[in-house]
């Protein structure tokens, strides 16, 4: 691969694709293998993120301190009012009251202002987590092998890139932030109590705090399986429903409505059950009970001190008790917060596990260490090539041997599922051969860089995929091409006429939507052929199964194909007898093997299988076929 003029191969320790795009080393590669918690933490402290964490922590702590100051001030104010009962309008006493009120007001204003600054840095952090997590995930997907992508459901990938990554965001804001706030608003009041009131009063809330820490750990563990189930069940619900609706015509035709509803309901029931399980775990949340109890106990404790039953160094007035109990009551909010924030944290952990699971699957690792950038002439040789899909036992291709000379057209025919498509995918190294060797111009595929190999091979696939953009973009496909070039390619591909029928001509958008058009199979194919003209490959592979609706379209496609095959080595996987009949060489596949090869004339004489098609289809005696050809 080349990047900025330099020859670059991808070392395995880098973003599989990132380096090619000019990114630095993958900072998360190692940590990805070490589990979701480590991975999340690494993201939290990645680069400037750590400053946001620190910034947020500072402001969060100061705003919590401001809050407990507010509470203490209140207690003092109440004390002041009670001790000065009746003569509050005495100027000096009134002044004191005003002083308290102003202090309360000041803390009441400072607290939200500090909180807001902290919140802003927290939000920035949360959004960055989502953005960077998604970036990392997508980059990883780009680096995965074709084999990996074959096995994925696009719906599932979408769920992970959109929803699971979003959980990282929710984890920071509000969950992690609230946990931080909860810790601060649990610890600070306790410290305040210890400093301001008789220190023994801090015993009860401290015990509560220790209890809470232990309980939350257990709670987190208990929620684990439930949240995992919820996320998986939701994904399954989505994909079951997606399929039912996509195949609605078939569902109706086979009267499967009830069956499909049952299938869907079995998934939604599982979802419901998990939801209830989660509800019960939450309902049992013990700290809520403990919280209320410590308020009562604390009140009792305070009164006992006040009445002198328990000796202390400080005295404790009514106002002191009020301040103390208020501080205890203020633990209520963090306790409630912990109930559902740990649930969100659990979701984030489950979601990260789902992300890591996919990212840790093996990336496309093709050995290109010997690779050079070489020009291809077009001779292709298969030597004893066999291929077995990873994770499978059955060989899809067995011992293939053939040779194609530069510029020749080879037709690949054979029964459905006999390995025709797989065979051609090996040439551009979408998959690597299991045994044997494929040579181009007498050199092994490994002697080419992936870039030089793929840039000289074009592939027109079975169901032509077009991007939802303009026809121009789809033909030029990112290569800088002038309009003239694109027009010429379209003309050669016999696509020009139908393109010009649309009001926006080459700027017509393809796909769904109001201002877009839907192209027929034959039209899509010709766009793909035009694309191949632009990329001007030395080897062209046409997986041609699109039906021509009528003879005129068929005619056009024939012309286009003849033209594009000119001067290139061309493999055509085809069902069109018109192409098979006129190919330079025909390979007849059956169950992964080549059972016959040669020209039409030769095969009619030598291959029983091949003869069958022609005789059965056209009801013509063999002699006529051979004679006509002679």
């Amino acid at each position: 691969m080349t990047f900025q003029g330099k020859e670059l191969e991808i070392p395995p320790d880098y973003y599989e694709k990132g380096v090619e795009f000019g990114l630095e080393e993958d900072p998360f590669l190692r940590v990805r293998k070490k589990g979701s918690s480590r991975w999340i933490i690494k993201h939290l402290f990645h680069k400037s993120n750590k400053f946001l964490v620190i910034f947020w922590l500072i402001f969060m702590i100061t705003s919590t301190i401001a809050f407990s100051q507010l509470v203490v001030m209140l207690g003092d104010a109440v004390d002041y009012v009670i001790t000065n009962f009746g003569n509050i309008f005495d100027p000096s006493i009134y002044k004191g009251l005003i002083r308290y009120v102003l202090l309360i007001l000041a803390w009441g204003i400072i607290r939200p202002v500090l909180g807001m600054v902290g919140n802003f840095s927290r939000e920035l952090l949360a959004q960055r987590m989502e953005r960077d997590g998604r970036h990392e995930f997508y980059l990883n997907l780009l680096g995965k092998s074709q084999n990996f992508h074959d096995q994925q459901q696009v719906g599932e990938i979408m769920a992970r890139t959109a929803d699971d990554v979003r959980m990282l965001n929710y984890m920071v804001s509000p969950a992690l932030a609230l946990i931080g706030e909860a810790i601060a608003s649990l610890v600070i009041p306790i410290v305040t109590i210890a400093l301001k009131y008789p220190p023994q009063l801090a015993i009860i809330p401290t015990a509560f705090l220790i209890f809470l820490i232990f309980y939350v750990q257990k709670y987190f563990k208990r929620l684990g399986p439930v949240t995992r189930d919820l996320r998986t069940n939701f994904g399954e619900m989505n994909s079951v429903l997606n399929q039912t609706l996509s195949g609605i015509e078939v569902v109706k035709g086979l009267t499967l409505e009830e069956h499909e509803t049952k299938k869907y309901l079995s998934k939604t029931r599982a979802y419901r059950d998990a939801l209830i399980r989660q509800g019960i775990i939450e309902a049992k949340y013990l700290p809520i009970l403990m919280m209320s109890l410590i308020v009562v106990i604390g009140l009792g404790h305070g009164i006992l001190i006040n009445l002198g039953y328990i000796p202390t160094s400080h005295s404790l007035e009514i106002g002191g008790i009020i301040g103390y109990v208020s501080l205890l009551v203020s633990l209520r909010r963090p306790t409630f917060i912990s109930l559902w924030t740990f649930q969100v944290m659990r979701y984030a952990k489950s979601a990260s596990e789902r992300l890591l699971e996919m990212m840790n699957e093996e990336a496309e690792k093709l050995d290109t260490s010997r690779g050079k950038s070489l020009e291809i002439k077009g001779k292709v040789t298969f030597e004893n090539v066999s291929f077995i899909y990873p994770k499978s036992k059955n060989a899809v291709l067995k011992n293939l041997n053939f040779e194609v000379l530069p510029g020749q057209t080879v037709a690949i025919v054979g029964t459905t599922g006999s390995g025709k498509t797989t065979c051609t995918k090996l040439v551009s190294r979408l998959y690597d051969v299991t045994t044997g060797e494929i040579l181009i111009d007498g050199r092994s595929l490994q002697e080419y860089t992936l870039e030089s190999l793929r840039s000289q091979i074009s592939y027109i696939e079975q169901d032509v995929f077009l991007y939802a953009t303009t026809i121009f973009e789809n033909i030029s496909f990112g290569r800088v091409s002038s309009m003239d070039e694109v027009v010429k390619a379209a003309k050669d591909a016999q696509a020009y006429d139908f393109i010009m029928k649309y009001p926006n001509e080459f700027q017509t958008k393809i796909g769904e939507g109001e201002d877009s058009v839907q192209l027929s199979g034959g039209e899509r194919q010709r766009i793909a052929i035009a694309r191949a003209f632009i990329s001007n490959p030395k080897i062209l592979i046409l997986d041609d199964s699109t039906s021509a609706i009528d003879s005129a379209t068929e005619d056009k496609i024939q012309h286009a194909m003849q033209k594009v095959a000119e001067g290139r080595t061309t493999f055509i996987i085809t069902h069109r007898l018109s192409q098979i009949r006129w190919a330079d060489k025909i390979l007849v596949f059956k169950r992964g093997e080549i059972i016959a090869q040669g020209t039409h004339k030769e095969l009619l004489k030598t291959s029983e299988e091949y003869r069958k098609i022609f005789l059965k289809r056209f009801d013509v005696p063999l002699e006529v076929l051979i004679k006509e050809d002679a």
């Binding site: 953005r131 996509s246 015509e249 039906s547 006509e628």
Partner: protein
Amino acid sequence: MVWYGLGDEDYDRKYSDKVLIQRVLPYFNPFKKKLLLVIGCLFCSALLGSLVPFIGDLILNGKDNQTLLIVFLVGLFLLTGLTYILNYVQWSNSSKIIGDLILNLQKDAHKAVLNQDMAFFDKYPVGKLLSRINSDTTSFADMANILMESSSSLLVVIIIFIPMFIFNWKLALIVLASFPLVLITALSFRKAARKRSLQGQQALSNVNAFVNESMSGIQVMKTFRQEKKMYEQFNEVNAQSFRVNLRRALLLNFIFPTLTLIQGIVIAAVAYFGGILSSQNLYLFIQSIWLLFFPLFSISAFWPQFQSGLSAAERLFSLIDAEREVHQTQENICVIQEGAIDIDNLTFGYKENSNIFDTFCLNVKPGESLAIVGHTGAGKSSLAKILGRYYEFQEGTITMDGVDIRDFDLECLRSQIGFIPQTPFLWADTLENNVKYGKLDATKEEVMDALELAGGSDWVEDLPHGLETDVGERGKVLSMGQRQLVAFARILLKDPRIFILDEATASVDPFTETRIQEALEQTLQGRTSIIIAHRLWTVRKVNRIIVLENGKIVEEGNHEELMRQGGKYADLYNTYFKHQSLEYIEEIGKIKTMVE
């Protein structure tokens, strides 16, 4: 910025709040008892909750009387235990209610959608229906949850206020005066918050759409080395989502600090006036303010969610209430013995005033095989779909074995008709199950036999796990040809009396095609079949060909007769079938030599 269709659908309607509540309430009916329990618990714990500061106040004022003190403290103790139990009962029951509520809504929505006819699915994309059934139900349930919680919060506010007014109505009024301030603050954020939230959702759906497209076309991307371009586009979409969601988050972050600011001011005011008024119950008031603001915060925090829950309910009921067009007049059991089809004076159009068929008549004799040919838009597929009751026809009658097809039970009728659409559809399930969809209780042997009949089953053995192979989303593990064989085998397993084939020429190799043709020839023996023909072979073999033009039969007869006539059919032959003939294939050789 690209805005993905967020507008209303045709079946969307506006429900008045009253109607909406009338529609919503029946869903709570099955849970009446549980609901009463939950509300009871909520009320009781609110009551108990508000007692706490009150008792605390009593304790502090009467702390010198020891017995009273102990009674109060023990009472308070019991109170908190009771509150916890109430909380448990309420929470676990409400999560049961919510879970069942979602389930019932999803069931109804699912059934309603599956009962719609094809015209409905032609109009509305799968993705949008999907999010209505799955996501709108959950956000509706969220709303129900919020409703329960905030109603209890409201209860708390009221209950707290009563003692406050009793003890010191002046101070209570001061606290009350802050309420409009809180409400105005919460509401003033609402509009902007909803707008930003909507933008956030749109940005995320852009990400979704982009990932969908780039992952669907991953192979093209790889072979044309478009990774870098895709990566750059991804970065744009991702950055957009970042920006929009950050702006939303920052806005929402003003709400809470603003509310706490108001809280701070109110507390300062109470401290001041409490001092001036020399209130003995200052403790009670200050405790109550903490308690008061908690529910107020949660109500205003959930307000946007509440709104979106309401609109989710509206969207959901629109979907459930959408009218279907196909109506059966009776539900007779359908047993087709003969397979005679009579179409009399049929009038049909997808839209008003643009009829595809106008007083169309056609008789198909029992056991006859009939091919329909004609240009695109002649009405071939429409005819097939009308017979399968995918669309409602406007006038005329269609009978099968002399019975009006509207008089049959719909499922029963469809079970007698084998319809193969042009594009095969497979579920992400095993190969075996995919064939079994034709007959759910079929054995493995029957499945293999059907596959064998449908063009041979050699290929099955070559799959990684044979019949157990998971064929992937829409069958993407299989080639297009294999998918067609599966669809065909499915229908063979179903063994219907009447075949309706929308013939797909594509994707099946010549070897397999020959075998399918042989299988078809056998299967169609003695059964009525209507084939939308694309294959030369088909038109040569059928009993009768009808040529459709603008919804009318312009010619009929068999292949030889029609060719001899040299009319429309002969033209169609040159347009649609000639390229499949030997003469044409030989002609291509000349083009090739010309090009060279």
